[in-house]
Symmetry: D2
Subunit: 131 residues, 4 copies
């Protein structure tokens, strides 16, 4: 399956909170990082999409936390393009430390044009996904 990218990052102190684990909001930063790597792995670039006049704002975001990630963990975040519709798409994510699954989640994105109104996914994006 082509529509998957694994991104790797190191947890820093700034990601943790005083419970000694990664603060729950920061998983959404990790998701975004993996999303960006997904585009890059296909020769694309989210910034290029913006220059073409398109945006993919998040309309929904979800995370299920199973086990805590901790300081200095080397995390692997898998982004999967799980759904493409006419004017929206969905990514699913899995956060792992070695084999252990720490969190899963997803984001739903609308495709909007320069006016901020919903528009069909641009050909350059569709081409990227089927590359």
């Amino acid at each position: 399956m082509l529509e998957v990218t694994d991104a790797t990052l190191r947890v820093i102190f700034g990601d943790t909170d005083q419970m000694g684990v990664v603060y729950y909001a920061n998983y959404f930063r990790y998701f975004e990082f993996a999303r960006g790597e997904f585009f890059r792995a296909r020769g694309g670039h989210y910034g290029a999409l913006e220059r073409e006049g398109y945006g993919l704002p998040v309309v929904a975001a979800h995370c299920d936390y199973r086990r805590p990630a901790k300081y200095d963990d080397l995390l692997s975040i898998r982004a999967t393009l799980s759904e493409t519709r006419r004017a929206s798409l969905r990514f699913d994510y899995e956060v792992r430390r070695d084999e252990a699954l720490l969190a899963t989640g997803h984001t739903v994105h609308a495709c909007v044009g320069r006016d901020g109104k919903p528009t069909g996914l641009p050909p350059s994006l569709l081409k990227l996904f089927t590359a």
Copy 2:
């Protein structure tokens, strides 16, 4: 209904991203802020709960984004205790700028003891909620 608290905060540059709106992960910071105010409004304190040996880690978090919040917006975040179970609870959130509803979301929390294992909600917490 007593189980509601409104918290107010000002959006800073550090909350926004280059799309000119509040970065999606930061809504979860806002949710946490409102959750903390919820406890305080009832004479409670999340830190006190921790000192008693209990924790309420987030096991699921969700946000639906309707309209973007922007720099300098004065946001009102409403936290509602929407469900209490034996060993978990759920908060629902509404983020508003004046009357406009910008985002809704929820968090589900497990109640755990000092050993990190699930445990019933402590009496001090239940008392707080029914105060």
Copy 3:
């Protein structure tokens, strides 16, 4: 002295790290918050300045940490306009919990025009400072 504004904020979990104190980078978020309140207290608005075609990017930032701020602390951040030059200005900051001084710092800002090049402080800004 007119050029002082005190801003108040509550420390959330998301501001802390696993050492149980506010993460050092977040003091710069607090400084920015106080800076924004400084403008607002004078009837100004940093966003308005941007719309006029000016920016005040940070060219240097410094913080000295004396005592740690902690979860749930109600912090008072004082912003003082300590220096205005032809094309730059400096703010100094003091972070307090009640009477205790927790941190001090400063930021230096260049004034730039729409082309990103240094330019004199605009009249609207100078007027604000002497109001």
Copy 4:
């Protein structure tokens, strides 16, 4: 010179602000990341130091911003151990995108024991630095 480590990271949307550049506070997150890599490159681990009962809290932090870092930039952050005293040390940092120097800065750290009081740098740390 052994006391140098280069760490590499990718700028995400969550690091930027609405001025279209990396938010100034986030450079201190980058510094911390490079500091962590510095320890790891020498076979050390900041977490291990903590378990031994020592901490290296930041007592001063500074950054000079030369050119903005932007979304999707691949940054190289060089951490140099520039000074060791009996009970404190200093790191200097350089943030680069390819050859371009974007920012420089430093942090000063006190060495404290389990009681939070200043103490001499532990032998395990000195050994690390001279390895």
